[in-house]
């Protein structure tokens, strides 16, 4: 199994929200969708798995290795080998599309160019290779963000409402394209969404979160 959470609880300081006793297992190569209304704690769970937030209670495992436990980070984020796609892309504005994609690439220098070209082709963004993030559209930026996360060859891909900033027609197109690439590469992915139809379309598994509980 790829990701396992057991009784994970987290409360935001000075706020009556968070997540409570969440447990689930995500098998390798599967895509799971975390589904729930706004403020339910979906993104918080993602942050806990990523290592941005330390759980108050419970354990987090990635590939059977305990990465976090009650109030303690065991494996820091840099060593968890995860890829993250943010809602607002978080592309580095001073780097070109190519530099952004290669930022976390662990491959040898000689292999990098081929690897980059392959990703650019897969995501159909070759012509934007030397452009800066402000010179490309929202849909293209989203594809670059997914390509960047995949370029680091993560064990788990975490996506926080990755397509919600796109309009409806563009969303399904980018969603299908990215999903196909993720499946082709047999990646384990956890996708946060509040859209049930989208979750059913994308996920092998749907984890419903409501009021911080699974």
């Amino acid at each position: 199994m790829s990701v396992r959470l057991t009784n994970v609880t987290y409360n935001y300081p000075a706020a009556n929200r968070g997540v409570k006793d969440v447990s689930f297992i995500l098998e390798s190569g599967k895509i799971a969708c975390l589904l729930g209304p706004s403020g339910a704690g979906k993104s918080t769970l993602l942050k806990i798995i990523a290592g941005f937030v330390t759980p108050d209670r419970g354990d987090v495992f990635i590939h059977e290795q305990k990465v976090a436990t009650s109030e303690k980070i065991i494996i820091p984020i840099q060593k968890r080998e995860i890829g993250i796609v943010f809602q607002q892309h978080a592309l580095f504005p001073h780097m070109t599309v190519a530099d952004n994609i290669l930022y976390g690439c662990r491959r040898k220098k000689a292999e990098r160019t081929d690897f980059l070209n392959q990703l650019l082709q897969e995501f159909k963004i070759e012509i934007h290779k030397n452009k800066f993030p402000h010179e490309i559209s929202g849909g293209e930026a989203q594809r670059v963000a997914v390509a960047r996360a995949i370029a680091s060859e993560p064990r788990v891909l975490l996506m926080d409402e990755p397509f919600s900033s796109l309009d409806q027609s563009l969303r399904s197109q980018v969603e299908q394209q990215c999903l196909a690439i993720i499946r082709e590469r047999n990646l384990t992915a956890l996708i946060v969404t509040h859209d049930e139809a989208s979750a059913k379309n994308m996920g092998d598994l749907i984890i419903r979160i409501d009021q911080g509980s699974e």
Binding site: I84, Q88, S152
Partner: protein, 531 residues
């Protein structure tokens, strides 16, 4: 390591203040006790009265002129507006003590105004009344107009960021701009105006140069005289301690004001359509905005040029490249050093936003409100005691290192603010994305954050450079004996009433500062686009 460095800087900033606070606890020699008694009996009352009058007079002048020009230039369109909008920040390039001696000479008996009057009317001395400038009123005008840009910039930002809907709603209810200003715009901008006024007041408290030239008995002048003329550092320290109480009171008021600022509704940016003025009103608006430029920039420069013309060969011969070099060296070094220290503090806060560190960072930023003279006295005593404790020779007193430490303590807040806001404009997601892609904090800083911070870093450097080039109080007290920059040499000549000799140095100082102000103005413009 980051946290350790931030802690060290904070300790460095707080230490001189603690030294000043302990000045009361130290046993003093009979001579010092007698000197202190003399100060208390004959001088302390006038120090308090003059300081209060000067401070509030300066704040009043800066607020009245700054707010009215900010309102007019932000809401109305009139002839010459685009040039004046920029020109109104130029008084920042003229140190108040330079203005002081320019005006002092302009108005004195042998100055051009009275000479012209006598030549024109044939009057002799005693035949006419002419207002004196070298007094408290003159000091208020000089420091007040040199601090107008602080209020102007803050108030203008406040007016420009007020939602357009306020004006639309008010005008639909029959409100004219004048009513809107008094009932809506000004009350909403109050926290900004207050902060600007307080900055002007602090500037008046920190002043040594202008008050010395104008003969005002303020605390700044008292500290300077006790140290240099009476040779009593502990008397100077005790005066500094009294002034420090007043500064802390003002800082508490500002903290209270900031808490209230949360409730002022500066919500969104709008492109406000400016109201065109009729010809007559346009002329009035032009003259109003021209006033601070004339008083704070143009007239002092014209006076200096006139002084320079009296004996051009002699004046230019006096001009030693060494003073320019020292000015550039001190300004450049302190700009770099302070920007690096501020960067370390801002970075520590970015990576460790919770916990004890933020309190130390806040404390380290107190220096901006502490007059240079107080810091200098505190540091001198601190270095003296340290050297005595280690039975060492004076390894710190009167060295460039000591001076740079004083600049760090004094100006770190001015560099910290642009860097902090630079960091807040870099989304946390960038750090998180970098970390998720396997990069540690150091790599994230150099590859992601630093390239995005060049603009705030340049602003930080330039602001400190500008402040250091004009700074007088701390430089005067702490400088090595063989180091003189343009500010020192201009002040020394001016305080001896050698106006002709002072003029070339003052003019070069203004030229350097003007270049820095122009670049800063351009950078701020870019910063807006960057936002």
């Amino acid at each position: 390591m980051l946290r350790g460095a931030a802690l060290l800087f904070a300790a460095l900033c707080i230490a001189p203040l603690l030294v000043i606070a302990t000045a009361w606890l130290i046993a003093v020699s009979p001579e010092t006790a007698e000197a202190w008694q003399h100060v208390v009996k004959y001088l302390l009352t006038s120090y308090i009265i003059d300081t209060l009058l000067l401070g509030f007079g300066v704040a009043f002048t800066a607020v009245v002129v700054g707010v009215s020009t900010a309102w007019v230039s932000s809401r109305f369109s009139f002839f010459g507006q685009s040039i004046l909008q920029f020109a109104m920040i130029l008084p920042l390039a003229v140190p108040a003590y330079v203005s002081a001696y320019s005006y002092g000479w302009l108005f004195e008996y042998a100055g051009p105004l009275q000479t012209l009057l006598r030549d024109f009317t044939g009057w002799e001395k005693g035949d006419y009344y002419f207002p004196q400038f070298r007094n408290l009123g003159g000091a208020i005008i000089v420091i007040g107009f040199s601090t107008v840009p602080y209020v102007y910039l803050l108030a203008r930002t406040a007016f420009l960021t007020q939602p357009l809907e306020w004006w639309q709603a008010a005008s639909s209810m029959g409100s004219y701009p004048r009513h809107f200003f008094w009932r809506v715009a000004l009350p909403a901008a109050r926290p900004f105006v207050f902060a600007g006024g307080l900055l002007a007041l602090m500037e008046a408290l920190a002043d040594i140069g202008t008050v010395s030239i104008m003969g005002v008995q303020s605390f700044g002048a008292g500290i300077y005289r006790s140290w240099f003329y009476l040779g009593e550092p502990l008397v100077a320290a005790r005066l500094a301690a009294v002034l420090l109480i007043f500064v802390f009171l003002l800082m508490s008021v500002e903290a209270f004001n900031r808490r209230k600022q949360r409730y002022s509704a500066i919500i969104q940016n709008n492109e406000i359509k400016k109201i065109p003025l009729t010809f007559g009103k346009s002329i009035f608006a032009f003259l109003l905005c021209l006033l601070p430029v004339l008083v704070g920039f143009v007239i002092p420069i014209l006076v200096l040029l006139r002084l320079l013309s009296y004996n051009k060969v002699f004046s230019m011969a006096l001009l030693d490249g060494e003073y320019v070099w020292q000015t550039l060296r001190l300004g450049g070094l302190s700009g770099l050093l302070v920007a690096v220290v501020a960067l370390v503090m801002a970075l520590a806060e970015r990576f460790y936003p919770k916990g004890w560190l933020r309190y130390f960072t806040a404390l380290a930023n107190v220096g901006y409100a502490i007059p240079g003279a107080i810091l200098a006295v505190g540091l001198m005593l601190l270095f003296g005691w340290t050297q005595k404790y280690f039975s060492a020779d004076s390894f710190m007193t009167a060295t460039i290192a000591a001076l740079l430490i004083a600049y760090v303590v004094r100006f770190v807040a001015t560099a910290y603010q642009p860097l902090r806001s630079g960091f807040t404009r870099i989304p946390q997601e960038y750090d998180q994305a970098s970390a998720a892609l396997g990069k540690n904090k150091l790599v994230t800083f150099f590859r992601v954050q630093l390239p995005l911070l060049w603009l705030p870093l340049s602003v930080a450097f330039l602001v400190v450079f500008l402040d250091t080039v004009k700074e007088l109080s701390a430089t005067l007290i702490l400088r090595p004996f063989d180091v003189k920059n343009l500010a020192i040499v201009a002040f020394e000549f001016a305080s001896d009433d050698r106006h002709v000799e002072a003029s070339p140095y003052a003019l070069i100082l203004i030229a350097l500062s003007t270049v820095a102000v122009i670049i800063l103005f351009k950078l701020y413009d870019k910063l807006k686009v960057y936002r």
